[in-house]
Amino acid sequence: MIASSHSADKKVYEIARLKNEVKEMRSAFVDGRSKLMRLKMESHVIKAMKGKGLSISEDPPKKIKVKAKK
């Protein structure tokens, strides 16, 4: 009885620790993701590329599509 109660307590500590870990990882994930999101934004890319003399194209990309043979 006492032993099983203690083992239950142990599990509670373990769960609390893991929960914290999950929270931290989630936080790290969102942190990284928002950083990536900001880096990916076109306005940021335009700024970053200005130094290299690159700017956005006036024309859209052209796609050549080969029609599937039936």
């Binding site: 307590d9 929270k23 936080s27 969102v30 942190d31 928002s34 900001r38 956005i56 859209p60 029609k67």
Partner: protein, 670 residues
């Protein structure tokens, strides 16, 4: 006292009696605690170690249309220092390196930080704040600093974790994505999508169960019949497109900063479905910076000015009282209506022009004349048309705080004989930018007026809880004939009308400029004129995909105030962005194409490569790209220097000369 036997016995009895009474008292007290007050103490005991714990439900996330996170809940950290915990030896050893690290982190000077922390120690401050509300990566960094890395018991580090709502996009579209905030008085503000759908979908239901304290601040769950499982909030998928939103936000910001305007908004809507792809609202702070202050596009109804001329002309066209070719006399830029002058912005006026041209050049007199001439006897007819288009009612969008339109009718306080001609060019009535946009969208959408939408679906993981479909407000606002005529004029406005500065050869757009006076009823207007500059339209002009409205309030007139100058560029930038993002697709039937010249060139190149292994070939006339390949793949190791690019014009070594290792060949190309 006697020392005989009896005396001794008596004393003994007395002491024994006292002890007996004392024993009885103890037993009495024991029994009274156990049975008389027992229940009370038992309850108190359980209360201290067992309690009902509320298990908070996780709030759902808000996603963009492409699945990017727009709002989510993550833990944030407050870092504090117990300045008394570290021993003086540790404290003295680490205080300087700690302050150096902190100084790098905060930008404050190291000596100032050291002074503050020493003061905190002297004042026995066990709760000294180092950083508030920081993200995970910053928390990890701070935790690694000297002293703090020693932990709670040696270093005195205190970490407090709270769950905060985070917008990974930062300030962009913050007002529309929204949040829920409770202030000190307990009042809750709920702007935007997060606010509007907070209670219904995002918040979820908190759970509850009994828990027992087991030390280290942990609570262990107990068997509980009344246990309630928490129900996490649903995820909300919006219609916002991060890429378009980003461009719209930054284009608007640039224009606001350039014109030092008070505030502005831009909304981009998909024509067919009414889904809002981007919405940005920026207002100026007292320091001249801009941020998402209020949802102007949804909440602010104002006099639309010239963008309303389109509605006026369409009403007249639909009622067939005029045609686009009907000639209207705009006189010399100044005309009297019922004792009041109406002016055109173009000095000297436009003279006699067609109704279509009047809209192209945005002639106030032209439109006022048309409407006054044909509706002054029966203004209800015009107002009925506006009502038919539902411009007199709010759109009923899901965001809280939609602005109410104001269209006066005969008999109202605001009604006068001048009201009707004022209507014609967008004064004496008020509608929201979103309403104007929805109407222009209807023109682009073959007459179908759809309700602007911010939400696509509400989901629990992958399961749809609720989906939102297109909502049609008016099936067809007018005949195709009127629509086509209007579209033609809107297209021409950008080609040769007030919007011609925006014209682009590569992509087409259609729309109407607007430059409305605002606060003109105030006495100081003449000294300090204020305007609302707007541009509303859609693109591409043929087969429109998106409609867009840009409204900028009170630009600095020293820089400019015309709709085409102030708001137009934002519209153009968004149109350009969407144009350059959509690939042009060419289709071909098959990859087996024989072109003789290409085959011949390939043969010639192959032959040269096979023949000339150590001897200089004739490279003149070849593309520099091919010439380089030929030289670098020879059996001798030559160094090639290429000037310019294109077709090789000169070679420093004549053809058929034997080449040696490390020889330099100079090619000139142009």
């Amino acid at each position: 006292m006697a020392v005989n036997e009896k005396g001794i016995l008596n004393r003994l009895y007395f002491v024994a009696g006292c002890m007996f009474i004392f024993g009885l008292a103890v037993v009495f007290k024991l029994l009274s605690i156990q049975f008389l007050q027992g229940d009370k103490y038992k309850v108190m005991a359980t209360e201290r170690v067992v309690k009902d714990v509320i298990i908070p439900a996780n709030r759902g996330n808000v996603y963009s249309v492409n699945g990017n996170l727009l709002a989510t809940s993550i833990p944030k950290y407050d870092i504090r220092l117990d300045a008394l915990t570290p021993s003086s030896r540790t404290f003295e050893k680490y205080i300087e390196p700690l302050c150096d690290s902190l100084s790098k982190y905060t930008g404050k000077s190291s000596s100032k930080l050291e002074k503050d922390i020493r003061k905190a120690r002297a004042n026995k401050n066990r709760y000294y704040l180092l950083a508030r509300n920081i993200g995970y990566s910053e928390y990890i960094r701070l935790r690694g600093f000297p002293l703090l890395s020693l932990g709670a018991f040696k270093g005195g580090l205190i970490v407090e974790q709270t769950t905060k709502r985070e917008h990974p996009m930062g300030g962009i579209a913050q007002r529309t994505i929204g949040y829920e905030r409770t202030d000190d008085q307990g009042n809750i503000t709920r702007p935007g999508i997060d606010g509007a759908f907070g209670i219904k979908y995002l918040s979820g239901v908190d759970g509850q169960r009994k828990k027992q304290q087991i030390g280290k601040g942990q609570w262990k769950p107990l068997n509980d019949a009344n246990e309630i499982e928490p129900k996490d909030g649903y995820d909300v998928y919006t219609t916002i497109d991060v890429n378009i939103q980003d461009i719209a936000h930054h284009a608007l910001l640039k224009q606001l900063e350039l014109y030092q305007a008070e505030h502005g908004c831009v909304v981009v809507m998909e024509v067919k479905t009414g889904e809002i792809r981007a919405i940005s609202n920026l207002g100026r702070t007292s320091k001249g910076k801009y941020y998402e202050k209020l949802n102007y596009a949804v909440g602010e109804s104002h006099e639309p000015g010239s963008t309303f001329k389109v509605m006026a002309l369409m009403a007249a066209l639909e009622d067939k009282v005029i045609d686009t070719s009907t000639v209207v006399d705009t006189q010399r830029g100044r005309k009297r209506f019922y004792g009041r002058y109406i002016n055109d912005s173009h000095r000297g006026g436009y003279g006699k022009i067609s109704a279509a041209r009047a809209l192209e050049v945005s002639s106030n007199i032209g439109l006022a004349t048309i409407i006054d001439e044909h509706y002054s006897k029966n203004p209800e007819k015009f107002i009925d048309r506006i009502k038919e288009w539902k411009l007199n009612e709010p759109l009923g969008v899901s965001i809280i705080g939609e602005g109410k339109p104001d269209i006066p009718e005969p008999g109202d306080k605001k009604w006068s004989r001048n009201a009707l001609p004022s209507f014609a060019y967008g004064y004496n009535l008020a509608i929201t930018p979103l309403q104007t946009l929805a109407f222009y969208n209807a023109i682009a959408n073959k007459g179908e007026l759809v309700k602007p939408r911010f939400l696509r679906a509400v989901k629990e993981f992958d399961k749809n809880i609720e989906t939102f479909d297109k909502e049609v407000i008016v099936k067809k606002i007018c005949s195709d004939e009127t629509l086509n005529k209007t579209k033609e004029i809107l297209k021409n406005i950008v080609v040769r009308g007030t919007g011609k500065k925006l014209y682009s050869k590569t992509f087409s757009m259609a729309g109407k400029t607007g430059t409305a006076r605002t606060e003109y009823w105030m006495d100081d207007w003449e000294d300090n004129p204020r305007y609302i500059s707007s541009f509303s339209g859609y693109f591409p002009a043929e087969n429109p995909k998106y409609s867009c409205i840009v409204v900028i309030h009170k630009p600095s007139i020293k820089v400019g105030f015309y709709g085409a100058d102030v708001s137009g560029p934002v519209f153009k930038r968004v149109a350009q962005k969407i144009y350059t993002d959509t690939p042009l697709i060419d289709e071909i039937e098959s990859l087996d194409i024989k072109i003789e010249s290409v085959d011949n060139e390939y043969e010639a190149f192959y032959n040269t490569a096979q023949t000339y292994k150590t001897i200089m070939p004739n490279l003149i006339g070849l593309p520099a790209m091919d010439a380089l390949v030929l030289l670098e793949n020879m059996q001798v190791d030559v160094k090639v220097k290429l000037d310019g690019n294109g077709i090789v014009k000169e070679q420093s070594i004549n053809k058929n000369t034997k080449l040696t290792d490390n020889q330099t060949v100079v090619l000139k190309a142009s």
